[in-house]
Amino acid sequence: MKELETMLELKNVTKVLGNKLILRNISLSLGEGETLAVVGPNGAGKSTFFKCTVGLLQPSGGEIILDGEIIKKKSVAVKKKIGFLGHESFLYSNLTPFENLKFYGKLYKVSDLEHKSMNLLKEVGLYLFRDVPIRSFSRGMIQRLAIARVLLAEPNILMLDEPHTGLDQEAVALLNKIIKEKQKNGKSILIISHDFEQVHTLADRVAILKKGVIVDTIQLDGKMSLNEMKEWYDKVVMGG
């Protein structure tokens, strides 16, 4: 099998918050075009792991390298390569979908912004609502717009934090369709999720984070069934 170019690499990353050690010596890599899912029980440090990876928190030790550059809080150029879809939409309720995209597009210095925004709104099925303030939107519509926001800057890597939470079936299907399209286009994707079904559908590799440590990783490659994956998880997390 051809060795993948490394898109994201964590080297001995530790994070201390207050006097609590949240992440302990995490070393993990994500290849170009690969989809890695990080799963784990509540309190395992998934959110802290994610915040460090997107540059919201500075690791207390070790380093995170994205596309050859170390991610730091001030790494403006590196952050441009990251498409971050969080728990929340990061969208302004009083603004319309078009205004929201235009705002983020300007911050990400997107060229041909108007044209790209309109195309993305068509892609996520919100073109007809482009001038309606999003406060009246359903959770599914807001999440579709959040996906458009993430894709607007054409990031090299997608970082998705619980992307399927609270979505209806239609929105889940659309999100998965977009993720699979990006996989085909060779984009790297990092997913943090509790949803084993979606992880099994989308990920090439799964890592388990437990008490701030990556305790095991497994290659799915379409050979492992969902039940086998769940059994593996239970065995690693609960020890049986």
Binding site: V54, G55, L56, L57, Q58, K73, K74, V76, A77, K79, K80, I82, F84, G86, H87, E88, S89, F90, L91, Y92, S93, N94, L95, E99, F103, Y104, K106, L107, Y108, K109, P133, I142
Partner: protein, 227 residues
């Protein structure tokens, strides 16, 4: 540097667009300012010439208290849908967020002043005989200092449980040197005498603005990490 300013303008434009679509905070600030003037006009006899002496103080009372209403919303509005995280995870310097917020808050407070100060003069039957140039310059320097410190503290208190109460408690003591200078300078400018006095107070205000601007700019990044 240009990128920081461009991003700051983008953030300020977004904030102003957001505000003027609903006019929630602006109208609340304007109504509050006019109500304060009304209360003072009932409390003091506007026909009494001695009352004119309170005008410089009243200009700053309405600016500070109406301004605090807007400052309270400045960062708490970013907490809805976790927009602040959206900004922080973007390819922008934290300084841009601070500068953008300062610009937006300054614009809104200035608009409130444009409405409320003429109302103050009308209700107190005050005939402006002072120097417009000095009056506007002092108003600008005082308001800018207030917004520089207020925006910083608004970011600091946004995540606190009682942010609405915390902001004035933190802000008012820090503003006292600026306000003492602003009231004295405005008195000199409105009376159109002792302009040298006004210049000295204005120099103090400018020093305050510069010092706090530099400090807030440097420290803002640490606030963002903690939020």
């Amino acid at each position: 540097m240009i990128t920081i300013l461009t991003d700051a303008l983008t953030i300020a434009a977004k904030d102003l667009r957001n505000e003027f679509k609903t006019k929630q905070t602006f109208s609340m600030m304007a109504i509050f300012a006019v109500l304060v003037i009304l209360v003072f006009s009932f409390a003091f006899d506007p026909t009494n010439n001695a009352v004119k002496a309170v005008i410089p103080g009243l200009v700053w009372v309405i600016t500070i208290f109406a301004g605090i209403l807007g400052l309270n919303r400045s960062f708490t509005s970013e907490l809805e849908n976790d927009c602040l995280t959206g900004l922080r995870s973007g390819p922008i310097d934290a300084t841009s967020i601070y500068l953008g917020k300062v610009l937006a808050n300054f614009t809104i407070v200035t608009l409130v002043q444009i409405i409320s100060i003429p109302v103050l003069f009308i209700l107190f039957n005050y005939r402006f005989t002072g120097s417009y140039f000095w009056f506007i310059l002092i108003l600008f320097a005082g308001t800018l200092g207030f917004i520089i410190v207020g925006t910083f503290l608004s970011a600091l208190s946004a995540n606190a449980k009682n942010s609405e109460m915390l902001l004035p408690v933190l802000l008012l003591p820090l503003l006292s040197p600026l306000m003492i200078a602003a009231v004295q300078a405005m008195r000199a400018a409105l009376e159109n005498e002792n302009l040298e006095n006004a210049v000295s107070w204005l120099q103090l205000m400018s020093a305050y603005d510069l010092l706090f601007f530099a400090a807030c700019l440097l420290l803002f990044e640490f606030i963002m990490e903690g939020s």
